[in-house]
Symmetry: C2
Subunit: 499 residues, 2 copies
Amino acid sequence: MHRAMVFQSLFLLPLLFSLTTATATAKRLRTIPRLSPIGPRVWLDHPDQILGESVREDLETFFYNQTLDHFNYRPESYDTFLQRYLINSKYWGGANARAPILVYLGAEAPIDEDLDAVGFLVDTAVEFSSLLVYLEHRYYGKSIPFGSREEALKNASTLGYFNSAQAIADYAAIIIHIKKTLQAKDSPVIVIGGSYGGMLASWFRLKYPHIALGALASSAPVLYFDDITPQYGYYALVSKDFRGASETCYQTIRKSWEEIDEVASKPDGLSILSKKFKTCNPLTDASELKNHLDSTYASAAQYNKPPTYPVNKVCGGIDGGGFGDDLLGRVFGGLVAYKGNRSCYVNEPTNQSETSVGWRWQTCSEMVIPIGYGNDSMFPPDPFDLKAYIEDCKSLYNVTPRFHWVTTYYGGHNIRLILQRFASNIIFSNGLRDPYSSGGVLENISDTVVAVKTVNGSHCLDILFAKETDPEWLVAQRKTEIKIIKEWINKYYADLSRF
Amino acid sequence: MHRAMVFQSLFLLPLLFSLTTATATAKRLRTIPRLSPIGPRVWLDHPDQILGESVREDLETFFYNQTLDHFNYRPESYDTFLQRYLINSKYWGGANARAPILVYLGAEAPIDEDLDAVGFLVDTAVEFSSLLVYLEHRYYGKSIPFGSREEALKNASTLGYFNSAQAIADYAAIIIHIKKTLQAKDSPVIVIGGSYGGMLASWFRLKYPHIALGALASSAPVLYFDDITPQYGYYALVSKDFRGASETCYQTIRKSWEEIDEVASKPDGLSILSKKFKTCNPLTDASELKNHLDSTYASAAQYNKPPTYPVNKVCGGIDGGGFGDDLLGRVFGGLVAYKGNRSCYVNEPTNQSETSVGWRWQTCSEMVIPIGYGNDSMFPPDPFDLKAYIEDCKSLYNVTPRFHWVTTYYGGHNIRLILQRFASNIIFSNGLRDPYSSGGVLENISDTVVAVKTVNGSHCLDILFAKETDPEWLVAQRKTEIKIIKEWINKYYADLSRF
């Protein structure tokens, strides 16, 4: 199995090779599991469109004239681009009441996508009398520098400005602008984000405490950098999730990789596999199938949401055996259970998403999350290969990933020792079934830098729209978070009255 | 008086007009009082050279391959330059003992200059068993990117990388490198700086708490940005210092400006003034004289050190009246008392210093310290003119100062409200006679973010070499600082043993 292609299906589309001429090498690039709060559409089991529309009615769209490079003073760094943000003022108690401002920090996707799924702001708006602000991350959606997406993504010279430090500086500038415009100097700001956006939220509170009073960082794997977290954490958890759902399912998957290789090695092996898995296009290499399965399992585990619980679905299909009692028939049954009845599976023709294009750059510049496959997983062992990773990125963009930069700029090593006497007002929330929780903050650091976790939760559940079917533990998680944020705000009001 | 040229003599040399073609406009540039820990050589009344040599014997020089742009991933941003740092390991207790590392953060000068004056590290080395590290600021001394000073200072395209955020990122990278090299992972780092370097120290602790356990920020006017501190603070304090030394001296100076203008307006006025003040070159404008006097008074107040106390010296000369009892004769007497017997005064031929060249760029990019002259001063009122300031900078460098950036990135507004529940381990030390103390943190913010001040102190006294003649209040100030830093370190050791 070529691990390099792992997870491309998480992006629901192949890597955009047109961005580079080094197609052959590009194929080897090991991508990092998607970090968005929302999983593949197939798993979005609440009626997005309807929810989205009613939420969008209350939103006004603005564009801020954003500085291209906050940390440089070359004439080009003064260039600006229009950065999109949206405001819902329907529930706001107003500047005079010093009513709070809840700011959602957009991540590696157009902000629109998250509006349909991230409900924490709207769901709590009445309770907080809050102004709701949604900020779009630079280089995504409509917030593109250099005039066009084509130009912005052309090469490292234009992509160079695309990184997290610039992104949170953008957010600082916009939030100051909004507060000034609304004359809401004393309104406390709470920043909220999920996954990569959750990292941004916690980092924003650390770097800009004078702008945000607190942060809710949902499923933010801030510790999955350098050597802080064991590289095998992610897939160990995927495997644990499957084993927890069904031991036979887990064993079936574990044995399947060898079986696929064995069949593939036969004279007509690839065509047998193509038929068996009803592939949309004939397989040219067994790795295509294995990578697809790999990312299917990872995705199911990461977005293992109630009420349907994808891991249970996949395992139901595998254990059910409706497509033959043999190993591969069972595995195919898992795919069908996951995706429903389709004319074909694997190798689907797909379009490139902004997330896959943008996130690939981000992972090749600074967001190096070393994820490998260890012995305690249902996948063949395959340690993270930094050297190969760097070479792939170099051939793609002609720049070397700055492997240590995230821990240099944001920290992470000995986080408890460092932050217990520094910083305050950060919630790190996690669902422990989320494979990314292996790189999350799972223990309280201090009275106000706290971990809120759920045993059965998956990726970013707490910041999604509340639903009738939400289990009690999820309802309780959100209640805890709201209570904590209220305490921050009340303490702030008390402080404010004393100064 | 053309306020634009104020303080050029603080840099001991005229502005480097060769940097720009806009000479006429350049002349109008209002420079900002020098921020270095050390004043003009004339006031250095301890035997620098001797001290310097003995201190330097213990120093080893290193060069670190530093990244040009930490916040950008364009291919050019990966360029590197050799950054100088010096280490004194004579007193270090070693990595096994987790003995502390005291790091002096270089500011707007070659690091050599500070070695001769900044003694806090060496003076406390035995007490702390500390490793001593001195880091040179990018674009100064031997830490020049782009191969040569000429190239580095050529224009905004090469100067653009010259700013505080990049500088403290440099420091982060070097400190991590040093700790790694020495296998001193657990040795606590205390950063120390004076004036602009003091701002860097406090900002470093705020942005990189995972790298520095604490900061001693001496005479750091972190609040002299935007509208946090009244713009008249600096000159109000200069005036207060003079009034405190001698009411008649203060009144003489206060009345002298009009007198100078009156004489200058006579047919032969400038030549009368030139003769009166024994100028080295004939005055071409009264502003030359007035700016020189202005900066002399400011410098005397800022570096009003024991045991000689320059303000007393100047006022002794003015009140003594050895050069005539008339107003201007008295003022000249002040000059002579300040500078000693010379063949000529004012308009001295001088060389351009690195500080004046570098700091001018820094004040024209981000370090916009709005200093104006109010009614409660001995100078003619002259409010800070941001518009003219921006225009001057634009004509010099073709870029606009980012007036609000310092407060956006580092904060400063409502500092007590913000930092009382965030951050820890920062000492803001000030001497209240230092005009820059008007922009300093003068009250405790929390138990561990504290103000240590002396009523009679001037600029950066506490971090200079201790001397026999030091008054008790200065000795006490240093003792307090050492005690506080020891508490940080002991608490850190206790924490470390628990994790």
